[in-house]
């Protein structure tokens, strides 16, 4: 008998489960899984969760090895474009949802590239929303991963370490260079938010001992990249639980909290939650680990779902 275990990541689901009123919107099958599972709380965000899943050792870090995953060297950094919004006495950072055309990104990089000359750094475009800085030396500074900062006030996430002052000064100079540059004038005229800042991050350490999975699926660039590094096979064509046959499977479900919840939950119930519940109850699936980044995870075995009094 195959011993199948599944790790299911539900992105942006904390918006639902963290609010008791929203929990009533959850499909019955998921409610049962949640009630009958063992819950372990964790505030770790998606990237921290992902790196931990692909590492055999316990990794506790604020930053993420994104620069390495983007093909950078040990001396590379991510310098991602973002929008800083002044909100009373704090500055809020927004990266997710900011869309840039390749030509806009090229012009913005040209606008600020000279500021890295003193460091001997070279700024290039990995994709319009993802830029990479490569330097001849490793800076003595600690950064905070972008997913921790995104949509939050930046004050408590600023760089730390011996070179922190230099990087904060550089960050301010970049903001001055971007302020009122032609690309931003055009964007604002079109009703779009300006790209008035960047966020330095992505120099976290890669796992020294990778954890490979017999199946990885889900449409996520980082997941694909980590799969590749760990020697796992990643697939982007899995849309329901019945297509997963592997013994040790990892799947990421993209829930978009900015889109219609009801239709997304209905589809997830049909394709994932109900089939998973049934498979567990029939002992066709041995165990499941449901991870909700920023909230925690629920562990269940086949016997757990039989706790029908819960």
């Amino acid at each position: 008998m195959a011993r199948q275990t599944l790790t299911l990541i539900l992105t942006e689901f904390s918006a639902i489960v963290a609010n008791p009123l929203n929990q009533s919107l959850l499909p019955q099958s998921l409610r049962k899984l949640i009630k009958r599972g063992q819950f372990i709380a964790s505030e770790d965000k998606l990237m921290q969760r992902l790196i931990a899943l692909f590492s055999k050792e316990t990794m506790r870090c604020d930053d993420f090895p994104m620069a390495s995953l983007r093909g950078g060297t040990a001396f590379s950094l991510c310098v991602d474009p973002c929008y800083l919004q002044a909100d009373r006495d704090q500055l809020l950072l927004f990266h997710r949802g900011l869309t840039l055309k390749p030509t806009e990104a090229e012009q913005l990089i040209d606008t600020i590239a000279y500021l890295f000359d003193d460091l001997g750094g070279s700024l290039t475009m990995h994709s319009p929303n993802q830029w990479l800085l490569t330097m001849p030396i490793k800076p003595d500074v600690e950064f905070m991963g972008l997913d921790r900062v995104d949509h939050h006030a930046v004050a408590e996430f600023l760089p730390r370490g011996a070179d922190a002052g230099l990087w904060i000064r550089l960050w301010n100079e970049i903001q001055m260079a971007l302020f009122d540059c032609p690309v931003n004038q055009t964007r604002e005229a079109e009703g779009k938010v300006p790209v008035n800042s960047v966020w330095f991050w992505g120099k976290g350490a890669m796992p020294t001992e990778w954890q490979a999975w017999s199946h990885v699926s889900g449409q996520d660039e980082i997941l694909a990249s980590l799969s590749d590094h760990s020697g796992s096979t990643w697939r982007d064509d899995i849309h329901d639980f019945s297509n997963i046959q592997a013994n040790q499977a990892l799947h990421l479900v993209n829930f978009d909290s900015d889109k219609d919840w009801a239709s997304q939950l209905e589809a997830l119930d049909k394709n994932w939650f109900t089939p998973i519940y049934k498979a567990l109850k029939r002992f066709q699936l041995d165990s499941i680990n449901i991870i909700i980044p920023g909230w925690g995870h629920y562990q269940l075995t086949a016997a757990s779902v039989w706790k029908i009094w819960l």
Binding site: M1, R282, F283
Partner: protein
């Protein structure tokens, strides 16, 4: 009824409420034995025999919940459901438990692989000093299980026979179950349910569950006209 027409309710209680104190025992001896068993001290194997509708599942789940609340590891499985959906090897996969509750054990009678799997499961549990609670329609002496080793293993349990309730007892059981849901069910209304919706206790409990939900949504008491309206729509 569409979502827009329905008042959404926050579910504060489970769909079914299984407790020893909301079960109407015909014999207090059975209640005492189950209460003692749930302490997991004196007794290690109890066997509940009774026809369908005598409350075996209710009691197994009530014990399971009570023992779990003591922080013990509990597994409940319904063999009548499992034989239809799973392979016998499923029983090898279950983790170690302080209490294993196996409902409808006679569902495996005549299925050699299942009988053997249950026998080995009992042995593993026994070796690990786990406790066992079994239910079946027949007593071990009358069981139609073929495997002699399993029959003799089942005969080592302390057997309690559950009897079918009289109509009057069913009325009381309904009222008791309604009370544990925070519902007021009068004798007249309980009689009405028995007269119009059958005398099968599991079916009546399902009706009560439906009425509980409807009563909460409509903020109405359980009256005969309200019950007629709800069950006609359902």
């Amino acid at each position: 009824m569409s979502l827009a027409e329905t008042q959404l309710t926050l579910r504060l209680s489970p769909q079914e409420i299984y407790r020893l104190d909301n079960f109407l025992f015909a014999k207090q001896e059975t209640k005492h034995a189950l209460q003692t068993f749930c302490q997991l001290e004196e007794l290690d194997f109890l066997y509940l025999a009774g026809e369908s509708g005598t409350g075996k599942t209710h009691l197994l789940i009530a014990c399971a919940e009570s023992v779990q609340q003591m922080g013990k590891r509990v597994i409940y499985l319904s063999l009548s459901e499992l034989v239809k959906t799973a392979e016998p090897a499923a029983l090898q996969a279950i983790e170690q438990a302080d209490l294993l509750c196996l409902d409808d054990v006679d569902a495996i009678a005549g299925l050699p692989e299942w009988e053997e799997a249950v026998f080995h499961c009992f042995n593993r549990l026994h070796d690990a000093k786990g406790h066992l609670l079994v239910s079946a329609q027949q007593t071990p002496a009358n069981s139609s299980i073929d495997l002699p080793d399993l029959r003799s293993r089942l005969a080592t349990g302390l057997v309690y026979q559950l009897v079918m309730m009289t109509d009057e007892q069913k009325q009381q059981a309904l009222i008791l179950q309604a009370q544990s849901r925070g519902l007021m069910l009068t004798t007249d209304v309980a009689q009405y349910l028995l007269r119009h919706y059958g005398r099968d206790m599991p079916a009546l409990m399902a009706v009560l569950q439906e009425l509980d939900k409807a009563s909460l949504q409509a903020k109405r008491k359980l009256t005969i006209p309200f019950i007629r309206q709800v069950l006609a729509n359902g």
